[in-house]
Symmetry: C2
Subunit: 336 residues, 2 copies
DNA sequence: CATCCGATTGTTAACGCTCACATAATGTGA
DNA sequence: TCACATTATGTGAGCGTTAACAATCGGATG
C-alpha cells in the first residue's frame, strides 16, 4: 500500500480511502491511485484489514458430516445466499457433537473473525451442543423450532411438521385411512416433526395411528425392507393402502420393493415422500412428495444472521419456520 | 495476549511460545500460562497471526455453484479430507468463470492467508480461468487430465475415460453392439472423457459409433426425452440394445421412459449409468453404473496440495487419475 | 480583510501477533 | 573457579491496514 501511495504521489491513507470508497477523495486523485494500483498489481491484505476492523466478510457454517440431502442442500443454499450478499463462508463439518468439539470449531471461527455463525443442526445433540456456547457474534441455528432450548440463538428451519401434515392430509383426502409412516432416526428433528405432523393429521381425521408407525433410518435400503414387509400383508382385510415415507430415499426403496413384487403404485398402494430430491420426478412411478424450499431457507438464514448489530447483546430469541410445498405426482391416487 | 501474560506473570512472547508449542518453555511456566488462558477465556486472534505468519491453517476451495452430484461430492470429500488433517476450509462458489471473477476469489483466499487452493473445475472454462493465475501457494485443479494446459497447477481427478471404457466394455462383453451413448454437456471434462472412453471401447471392438451418440445434458428430463425417442425405433431391425448414459440422472430418466412405455430393462434394452448416486441401487431395475471413489479423490487431492513446501516455486506439473469401479446390477443383461 | 467552513489530504497510533535478537539463568567441563 | 554452552525468558520492531485527529487549501461570510 505504501508503494501504491508513492507511485500515486499520495499518502497511504488516501489509498485506503480510495479502496474503501470514502466520499471525500477528489476524482482526479482517485484515478491516480487506481492507476497506481493497477500498475503495481496491488491487492489489499485482508488479514491486516480484519485485524483492525474486526470484520472479515466471512461467516462460518457448522454442519454434520453426513452427506444426506437435507444438510447438504441447506449448506449449499446458505453458501449461495452468502455469496449473493458478498460474504464468504468458512465451513466446518462435525463428526461428533459433544460440546468440546463444538467449542473448538466455534473458537476457530471466532478467532478467524467471522461475522456470524450458522449451525446446521438436524440432530438433537448438535443443537444441544450449541446451546452451551456464548458467542460474541450472532449465531443462527438451522433446526426445527422444537430445538429451541436455552435460547441464546436464533432458530430457523423448514416447517417439517406442516410438510408432514400436507402429505398426510393429501392421502386422507384421497380416501386413505391406513396410512403407514416410515420415520427417520428419532434423534433427528426432522424425523420427529414429520412423525408428529403425520400423527396429528391422522388424529384430526379421527384415524388412530396405532400400529402404523415404522421406525427406520433415512436409507433406501431400509425403505426396501419395509416395502417387502408391507407387501406381505397387502392381502389382508385391513390392508395398508398408503405410505408416507420419511424421505424420498425411503420412498425410493419402497417403490423398488413394490415394483419387484409386482405391487402396483398407486393402484394398490399410494406412496408419498419428503424432500423432492433430484430425480424423484422420474421414479417409477414419479413420486408425490414434499418440496423443501432450500433457497428460501438460505436467504432467510442470512437475513436472520445479519439482522441487528453484529456485536449485539444476546440476540433476541426468534424462531422462524418456512412453509414447504406438496408436489403431487403419480405415486398417489384415490383409494380402492 | 498481554492480559494473559500479565496474569501468568510472563511476557507476551512466552504466551506466544506456549500457544505455538515451542519446545523451550519450562513445563511449570507453560502450566501457568495455560491456566491464565483458561481463566481469561483467551482466544488467539488468527487475523493478527495470519498477518505476520502469512499462514492460516485454512485452505480455499473454489467450486462452480451447480448442485450436481459430481462437484458436490467432490467438495464434501475434500472438506472431509481436510478435516482429517486438521485443516479448515473456506469455500467460494463461482457462477461465472471469467478470469476476473476467478482472480477476485483467489485474491480473497490469498489475502486470507490460505495455505493452498483447490479448484474444482468440471468445466473447460473454469480450468482455463485458473491457468491465468499465478499463486504463491499451491493450487490443485480437480479436473480431467486433459485439462492440463499451461500447467502451473497440479491436476487430479477420477479417470472418467477409464470408467467409460469399463461401462462400455461391460456391455460389449454382454454381446451388445448398438450401444447408444447419451453424453453430458460438451463443455464438461467428464462428459468429453466419458464419450471418448465409450468411443474407444467401441472402436476396439470394431464397432462404429456412427449415429450412436446423443448430445444431452446431465438431467433426468433429458434422459427421459431420449428414452422416449429410443423406444420408437426399438421395433426396427437395427435396434439399439444398450445405452450408456452419461450419468445416473440421465439413466434414471431413461429408465422412467422405458418403464412408462412398457419396455423391459434389461430384457429389451440394457442401461448403464455413471456416478452410482445414492439410490441408484433402488432404481427400477437397480442400475449398473460406474462408482466414483470420491473419498479417495479427496484425500489424494489434499496429499497433492500438501506435497512439497507451501511457498515453493511453481509446483511441478503432475497429473493423477483415480480409477473408478464398475458396479454391475440388474439393468444390464446379455443381449437377445 | 479576518474568520470560519467544508472538502481534501496527511500524520500518528493502534490492532494482536510472531520474528530476531538481547538478556538472564542454569549447567558443564577443564 | 571461570569461560562457555544451553535453556528459558524478555524486548523491540514490524506485518498492512484503518481510525482519529491534525493540517492545508480555497472560497464564502460577515
Amino acid at each position: 500500500m505504501a508503494d501504491v501511495a508513492k507511485v500515486a504521489g499520495v499518502s497511504h491513507q488516501t489509498v485506503s480511502r480510495v479502496l474503501n470508497e470514502h466520499p471525500s477523495v477528489r476524482p482526479e486523485t482517485r484515478d491516480r491511485v487506481l492507476a497506481a494500483i493497477e500498475k503495481l498489481g496491488y491487492r489489499r491484505n485482508s488479514a491486516a484489514r480484519a485485524l483492525v476492523t474486526r470484520r472479515s466478510g466471512t461467516i462460518g457454517i457448522v454442519t454434520p458430516d453426513s452427506a444426506l440431502y437435507g444438510p447438504t442442500s441447506t449448506l449449499i443454499a446458505i453458501e449461495q445466499a452468502s455469496r449473493e450478499v458478498g460474504l464468504f463462508v468458512s465451513v466446518a463439518t462435525l463428526s461428533s457433537y459433544d460440546a468440546e468439539t463444538m467449542n473448538h470449531v466455534l473458537d476457530h471461527f471466532l478467532s478467524q473473525g467471522v461475522e456470524g455463525i450458522v449451525v446446521i443442526a438436524p440432530q438433537v445433540d448438535v443443537a444441544a451442543a450449541v446451546e452451551t456456547f456464548v458467542s460474541p457474534v450472532p449465531v443462527v441455528l438451522v433446526a426445527d423450532a422444537s430445538a429451541v432450548g436455552a435460547g441464546v440463538v436464533r432458530t430457523i428451519g423448514v416447517d417439517q411438521y406442516a410438510g408432514a401434515r400436507l402429505a398426510t392430509e393429501h392421502l386422507l383426502e384421497l380416501g386413505h385411512r391406513r396410512i403407514v409412516h416410515v420415520a427417520g432416526p428419532t434423534d433427528w428433528f426432522d424425523a420427529r416433526a414429520r412423525t408428529e405432523g403425520w400423527r396429528d393429521a391422522l388424529g384430526a381425521a379421527g384415524v388412530s395411528p396405532e400400529g402404523l408407525l415404522v421406525q427406520g433410518d433415512w436409507s433406501s435400503a431400509c425403505g426396501y425392507d419395509v416395502g417387502r414387509r408391507l407387501t406381505e400383508d397387502l392381502a389382508g382385510r385391513e390392508a395398508t393402502t398408503a405410505v408416507f415415507a420419511g424421505n424420498d430415499q425411503l420412498a425410493l426403496g419402497m417403490l423398488h420393493a413394490f415394483w419387484e413384487q409386482g405391487v402396483s403404485v398407486p393402484g394398490q398402494i399410494s406412496v408419498v415422500g419428503f424432500d423432492d430430491i433430484e430425480g424423484s420426478r422420474y421414479f417409477a412411478p414419479s413420486l408425490t412428495t414434499v418440496r423443501q424450499p432450500f433457497a428460501t431457507l438460505g436467504r432467510a438464514c442470512l437475513d436472520l444472521l445479519m439482522a441487528g448489530p453484529a456485536l449485539a447483546e444476546p440476540a433476541p430469541v426468534s424462531v422462524a419456520a418456512i412453509a414447504p410445498e406438496l408436489v403431487v405426482r403419480e405415486s398417489t391416487a384415490r383409494v380402492g
